[in-house]
Symmetry: C2
Subunit: 525 residues, 2 copies
């Protein structure tokens, strides 16, 4: 992962002429991209780690597994939200963790937490570093020192059970590496969020991640069978069966705990045989409401495809729905994508049933190609954001979810909040939306917003983000469907779970992390 | 519900001649049933409720909504486990709540909890009273006084959203009443545990209930969208969307909280249109392992029926698999039941796919009749237990769950623990088992055990139950798949969630119930 943008250098491509034309027409933006800085030129706040602390941590993880190098600190200086990336571009000294520690296993994680609790060092658990909500920002809270606890060395598969369809994966495995190890056993996890290429198994669990195949394979929380967690108060292992009535399901306290209650070190997940076949089918609908009702009919009938998505008119128009490239051949109305994975018999039965329902609900079958194109380009959008930011265009995404009956109103309210808050600043935006996760009772809404940057784009976005957060809570949506809370959504947690819910989280944190070292400033207000 | 047995008087029928023959042959039991006592003849421990406490509670719920009558106290003296029922038959004075309080709504529940917390009165939340794990026993803990908080008056539907497929139900609604109210809107919940006829919505949530149609409609915890909960520390409302990444899912702390963390007063549930059609198909398999592998192939292919069950050889042999009656026409090997609900297209597609997989895995199709017979008799088994108990036969059930790969071994270990612990007491048992809940990664195991009663059948069963609990933990199963913890499974909670998990539950309880009045002696060790 590069330090000041998404992904790897090879992923960054210049914008096409058609996108540049569109940006010029809509936002009056033109000219050359801002030059990126060399990472060595970036001033970092000096590390506060003392020699005693260094020795203490070296005693736990060994001398080669702790770093105060400029490069390592910069690579752990935060996540990949647009504000994060804009801060990297700023001339001011960057905040960064005072050290980066690379434990080898669960026992070392436990020992690092013990040392840090005893020595007043804040700990930011760090997986792939792809948080877009400030979840891995080096917030030190009331502590002088903060370390990033990088879990990349926890990268093994400790157990595979092909009969039960489970695998126990180390928290530090990235999505592609996990799939590669599973593929050697003919298995697949099927969790493909947009962060897939860089994010980690532990991060997926800690943030309640949801992948693009969630209609077929479930959200990551659905996949979690068992968790191993290190806390300053000791180890906790949860999940003894596929389902249980043995009291509250404490796994659900740690799935989504964002490193504030403990560090997830190992996850036993439901996996499945690599699909025999994959069917692709794209659809167009005359408008978003018709398309949403069609998706609803499929999910409520129990006939959900593996992937089920619907772009609204704007997103379909600029062709973001089909690939990461704005421009290409346009589809009229709203584009929907379906894919079907499994055995030949399952794919045939399911695609026939779902296809009939989509057609009956007003869908026009477009064939395989748009669906295949979508799959081909599905991890590319974050790269385009970097190119836009470089050109002086603000680009950010956000998401929510609600019931089917409230979906249209929530979409309108969020769109209005984004449009009004940015237009009032003189930068009217382009707002696009899609449904990417569906449930029998409702769906998610994922928004992409593009506007001309102001001189202080972080402040500009902050105003819009505040307006949207308030609008979501007022309109009955959840403050985040799959991006998690971090620092950015924390103000709205009382709106989500109430003051008593916040007290419950604090009570759990006091028990597991009495010194309060775990990821301060995140999740819990 | 009658005071000393399951269900309603009309449900109780004499055992058939064939069952009596079987009991005589296997257990040497014969003769006439023990006569039941008139409830007025049962000595109850005197109520400790003081006039001041009476006045205080009357001030909250009104004079007609609190009772210290013999009848009301006896009807709230516990649940319906075999030890519960055997205790009712004993000559000793029965323990009972010191009063029964019938709040009208959430606000009254909140006020009762406030009064009881201030006045050191233990509170046992009481729904349908069908607990088989001691969950509603009148345990007073360190308090002099305990009340049963009967939620039957919270029996409304406050919101129906047919588009989203959700309904908000009062905690006190019984299964049949909830289905009746939903049917008026063309909807159904589809939650049919064996306790369906008497148990309540709040109880289903508080105990993580799982119904016979769980393969199609999910467990009750899967259905829960939103909860309203009264605690001594105030009200908490949870669940703002079908899915969320806004931190830990606190709903999962209260689903399964068994009245120890709060009182669930309202539940918003996922419902579905009443099915257009229902398909029935029974199967036989040569043995349990072949049948289990067949069920696994169906669930892992994503082709699960609505109901999917498999009885083992013994259960199939005594025909418990088909109805509540032991005896009738036998099926060779192991009987499996499938039903398919939904639209005509869905039922056709799903039953074709599942049927092909079951046949390929060695199943022999038996047609509709055995499946229809199973459905017809599916709520009758608890009545037969009463008839057996009356004849001096011990009869109890217990259940667990594990991964597919561990299923055969867990079944053998539990069977051995039951057989050995009862045979060592001179009462070798008949042990039957079925799979009634399936998941991609594993399944539940439900055991019915029958043996000749000793003079102290409670002590006799206690020895067997202890052996089974230890065997389940040692063999890697969960201590309960859908019966919950109550008093009876509490000793094994540390084996399920570890000491640190117990500390987490205690921390949450301290925050929500600082006086410790809520259901003492249950769930949390």
């Amino acid at each position: 992962m590069v330090w000041d943008a998404w992904g790897i250098p090879a992923g960054h491509k210049p914008l096409s002429a058609s996108i540049r034309n569109l940006l010029t027409q809509v936002f009056g933006v033109s000219g050359d991209p801002v030059a990126r800085r060399d990472e060595g030129d970036v001033p970092l706040r000096e590390s506060t780690l003392t020699p005693t602390q260094w020795d203490g941590l070296v005693a736990v993880v060994g001398v080669g597994s702790i770093s105060v190098d400029h490069h390592d600190r910069l690579l752990h200086a935060g996540g990949k939200s647009t504000p994060d990336l804009l801060r990297r571009r700023a001339a001011d000294p960057q905040d960064a963790p005072d050290a980066v520690v690379f434990p080898a296993d669960h026992e070392q994680v436990l020992a690092v937490l013990g040392y840090c609790a005893d020595n007043a060092i804040a700990v930011v658990p760090f997986g792939g570093g792809t948080s877009v909500v400030g979840g891995v920002d080096p917030v030190r809270g009331r502590f002088d020192t903060v370390i990033a606890l990088d879990l990349r060395r926890l990268d093994g598969i400790s157990e595979i059970d092909p009969v039960s369809g489970t695998a126990t994966l180390g928290a530090g495995l990235t999505g592609p590496k996990a799939e590669e190890l599973l593929a050697a056993h003919g298995l697949s996890l099927g969790h493909f969020p947009q962060s897939f290429e860089f994010a980690s198994i532990g991060g997926f669990a800690a943030t309640r991640s949801s992948g693009q195949a969630s209609a077929g394979y479930g959200r990551f929380d659905d996949m979690v069978q068992r968790l191993e967690i290190a806390t300053p108060s000791g180890t906790i292992e949860l999940g003894r069966a596929p389902a249980s009535a043995a009291g509250p399901d404490l796994r659900e306290l740690f799935v989504g705990s964002e490193g504030a209650l403990g560090v997830i070190t190992g996850v036993t997940l439901r996996v499945h045989p690599a699909p025999e076949t994959i069917g692709y089918q794209a659809w167009s609908f005359p408008d978003f409401e018709t398309g949403a009702a069609a998706l609803r009919s499929v999910v409520q009938a129990g006939a959900a495809p593996t992937v089920l998505r619907l772009s609204d008119e704007v997103e379909t128009g600029v062709n973001l729905a089909r690939s990461a490239d704005i421009g290409g051949e346009a589809v009229a109305g709203c584009l929907a994508i379906t894919t079907f994975e499994g055995t030949e018999a399952h794919v045939a039965a399911r695609s026939a049933e779902a296809g009939a329902l989509l057609a009956a609900a007003g869908g026009n079958a477009l064939g395989q190609t748009p669906a295949e194109e979508w799959e081909h380009g599905r991890f590319a959008a974050p790269y385009m954001r970097d190119a836009l930011l470089d050109l002086g265009v603000l680009c950010e995404t956000l998401e929510t979810a609600t019931t089917w009956s409230n979906l249209t109103e929530l979409k309108a309210k969020v769109t209005a909040a984004l449009t009004d808050s940015l237009a009032e600043q003189g930068t009217p935006p382009l707002v696009m939306c899609h449904i990417s996760h569906t449930y029998p009772t409702g769906a998610s809404l994922y928004f992409t917003v593009i506007a001309k940057q102001l001189d202080d784009p972080i402040a500009q976005w902050h105003i819009a983000k505040r307006a949207v957060g308030d609008a979501i809570v007022a309109a009955g949506g959840t403050i985040t469907h799959h991006h998690a809370v971090g620092t950015d959504h924390r103000p709205w947690i009382p709106g989500e779970i109430g003051d008593l819910g916040v007290r419950v989280l604090r009570a759990v944190k006091r028990e597991l992390d009495p010194a309060g070292i775990l990821n301060p400033g995140k999740l819990i207000p």
